[in-house]
Amino acid sequence: MSPALATALIVACPTLAHACASCTGGDGPRAQAAFFGATVFMTLLPLGLIGAGILWLKRGGREWLAREFEDRDAWTPPERASTATPDQTPATPSPAARP
């Protein structure tokens, strides 16, 4: 049997493939319902929490982005006063002064 066919059988017919002895071979419908319910619960809960977290960040993000240019517009650049002093020592010595 090819691996692809085996995979397709397991996915399509878990009972036939005995994919989960606990879930499909339990002691009656009550046990199977308990496993199924727990599986659904444990699958949906983290997805729900992640979705709630994304919604919370998205809602806060909208307000955060709306305030983005308030900060930029409120900022005033400093006034820089430039001074030129001819008798200050230059940063690099002149070619004539080099040995």
Binding site: D27, A31, G37, G53, L57, D71, A81
Partner: protein, 201 residues
Amino acid sequence: MGVIRAASEPAGVTPLPVRRPLADSAVLGTALFVFTEVMLFAGFISAFGIVRDTALPGAWPPPGSPRLPFERTMLNTAALLASGVALWVAGRRFRGSSPEKARDWTALALALGAFFVLAQGAEWLALIREGLTLRSSQLGSFFYTIVGAHALHALVAILFLALAWRAMIAGRLTAGRFAAVRLFWYFVVLVWPVLYWRVYR
């Protein structure tokens, strides 16, 4: 020719504004931690549900196990829920126009939370005297593991809330830190009714 140098920046220059973060670090960190703890309790509840529902007829609760005090624990549950409401009011006052009133509501939440933990402790002692221990049966194992884990979280939440209350009195409590403490308290409060309903019933 001289070097053109800029003079030093004059005093009183408006510094570049620092952007407020999208979410307060303390709140985000607490939210991530609460996420993991919710999954921890979800695992406990799922395992307990499967063991209980797959037990043979007449085998659950295990023979000889004392009955869990469902009615008596209702009072503890009400106290814990009331502490959540009190802390919610404290949060509103803290952000509002009367932050000094937040202290009283926070103290009330603290007192109710402490009552819950002490009452649960008394209940445990009674159950141990009746023969329900961690190793007496599957019910005992699950009960003390699940309720014990919640009690541990409640104790830590009480400690954090007490520290926040002290900082609030000293005027040092920031809104972000208080929000983080409140978030953890709400988690402890809201997870308890689920545990109570699944384990005690």
